[in-house]
Amino acid sequence: MFILILSFLVAAAVLPALAKKLGREVFYVAALVPAATCVWGVWAYSKISESGPISEQAAWVPQLGLTLGLRFDGFAFLMLSLVAGIGVLVFVYAGSYFHQEPIIGRFAATLLLFSGSMIGLVLADNLLALFLFWELTSITSYLLISIEDEKTAARSGALQALLITGMGGLAMLGGFVLLGEAAGTYSMSALLSKPPSGSVVTAALVLVLIGAFTKSAQVPFHTWLPRAMNAPTPVSSYLHSATMVTAGVYLVARFTPAFAEYSIWRPLVISFGLATMLIGAYRSLRQHDLKLILAYGTISQLGLMMLLFGVGTKESIFAGCTLLLAHGIFKAALFMLVGIIDHQTHTRDIRVLGGLGAQWPVLTVAAGVVAASMAGIPPLFGFIAKEEALAALGETGWRWGVVVLIGVVIGSTLTVAYSARFLWGAFGPQQVRILGEQGSVPQGSAPQPSKMFVAPVMVLAALTVLFGLLPSLIDPVVARAYESLVGSSSEHQLALWHGFTQALALSALAIFAGGALFWWRQRVERFQDSVPHLPSAQSGFDRTVKGLLVSADAVTGFVQHGSLPIYLGIILLTMIVLPGVPLLSDGVMPNIWLADSPLQVVVGFIMIVCAVGAAVARRRFAAVLLVGAVGYGMAALFVIQGAPDLAITQLLIETLGVAVFVLAFRHLPADFARPKLPGSQLIRIAIALLSGLFVFGFTLFAIGARTEPTISGQYLDKAYSEGGGNNVVNVIVVDFRGFDTMGEIVVLAVAALGVAAIVRAKKPPVKDATGLTSAEVDS
């Protein structure tokens, strides 16, 4: 399985180079990888039918006990067949969707990376590995939405998707860690077979659900999904309908058998799911953009799936698995259809489109089939899924079960209405000519789409008919998925005809009521326009982001006010107060002696004079020379102590330091500025005196604070035998304490680059070839 996921990465690395040679044919090459995955999936499926789930482990960070665990079971197969199967079709479709744009190499590679991450997500058994793949899908989704990066809408839509799903992902990670610590294992299969309990688990589940809700676009986190429709259509039909957005549903499905009885689980999941289903379907009826109709429809369907898994009875889990498959098939096909319409007519507005039904009869039939499947009309796969759902919800036996059931019937009614609206808007006769003659697509002008372009839609339409008429074909897959979730095999069988049941009656009701809504669509639209708009979640998101930026700005302005004296003052005061207080209370006074030799006294006296001179000097140049003299004095002290190495370094540093100081002073006035605020001079003097005193006292106490024998003896012993050098100082610097030196040279390099950047930023801006000023480039 690891090889499987890696093959996606490797192929993605090769694709951009290949795209330069092959052009858009590269998509057919890319399709081979998910195709191979399908083959592997079928082979592995036959294996797990005989001998149970396959697991693979690989050590990731063994020191932290992190292992990457993968596990392939029936539910993973269901998801994998969706991801890889639709993946193949989407790649074939993209081969016709794109022209010879330069982005196709990047696009194909990113799309393949997404497929790999999604496969990893459904195979992951370790919670942290799951999180890793989860975030990878978020990131690849971001890259794919913004692939046409010259479009502002695409960029901002991508960012919104990343912010919302990323926020949810972080919450989910917190939840995973809480769960993993509570259960003592991060393996999902082990954790779910022995679910932990306690108040920590309640918090963890809420966090995990936030992750699932954001990813699966549940209200009020749904706003990113319609805005993600700025992506090229292959992305919409793959990520934002069939696969990535079902990741949240997938997670809830995995968790629900273990946690459905938990107090908060059902109320949370069911209420969010139901609200999402209704709001999504209602908003879908208001859209004029074909893609947005589908986007809100997807939100609605995701709500229904969430609800079904949230209910968590055996029947509803079975229905959820069925709907997951059915939805993936018809929704991917519908998005592909929109892409074809957009590609051939250059519009997606149902107020402009018209007459396509007569021009593309075959495609229209296919569209009718998949839209009917979405509406839940027999004898299609979507109908079977909806029947299962209604039957499952009718059998809960709870007090609130009826409310949920009524909600779902209303949702289904709206679904029928927007499915009809979609179909009629795209293929029916032109409706309202609000854009005038120029804006409309004249009859008979749209070119026929190529066969390869249409083929993926046809395959999916055929599947939805096939599974509708012969549900026994798909029944084992759903049953196996159900079995791996619930742990026991189902006695239930998918069937087209269950007899005259309550579910059938509700289905019929939904279809007729939805038909009526469509028939009186103009009244419905007028009604929707007259109802005051609910506070939109989009403006909520915008306000949150804006508020965050404004408050971040305020905080930065407060903390980083830009005055060097104040920065320096705060740093010095911290240095004095924090170690100074314990020093005064606990410090041990060492034995003090004045000097080892009279020479030290002389040098020390010179140093003190120079230091005082530096402090009172008016001119910067004089001050620097005096500071340099103090440094030379230090070097002299080193010589007296018999440390030539230190003396050399000290001398050189002082020399170079003075030179650099002088260079820097050419940018500054010759004299020190006099502080303008009265009293600030006194504060400065006080801080300076205190820091001087502190350093003096600290050094003194540090000598007295020794409790262990010094390690310099060891250094002396081992310098030659282990370090291979006679110069102990050097051996310490480059060998014993090599890591420190490493850090120091990094600091040196970074500081040098920083100085260079600051100096350059001050230069008058020079426009270079890119049109940016050098200051802009530097910043």
Binding site: I653, R666, V729, L753
Partner: protein
Amino acid sequence: MTHRRSVILDLCVQAEFHTLLLLSLYLLFSGHNQPGGGFAGGLVASCAFGLRFVAGGPPALSRSISIPATTFLGLGMLFATVTGCISLATGHEFLESSIISADLLVIGTVKTSSVLFFDMGVYLVVLGMALLLLEQLGTADGTNPDEVQP
């Protein structure tokens, strides 16, 4: 930073420039057994370039060296890290030293430690930093245009 170049200083610097560079290399290579090392060596080399700068201004500096200062910084970091990584790759700890001895044809047996390469990295980083500061602070325009007369 005088208005005119001093001929005496110029000549003296020209005379000692290469000697200083040689001395810096000596300090670098002998550093493991005698006073010196990469840091001191790098500083001596920096001083040599600093003298050039003092004597002839930015043009003299850019005449004496054509490699950009950032290249030295980068090379130094590369040397240091690669040395560390090699010892990591050969099964030791990061930056753990091992003693190398080789028989060179005329010179005889030479024994040194692998940290010499790390020290070279230090040398290059120090030199690169000093050169970068001289270049940036020294050639920054908008100060006194009449400082240096080439």
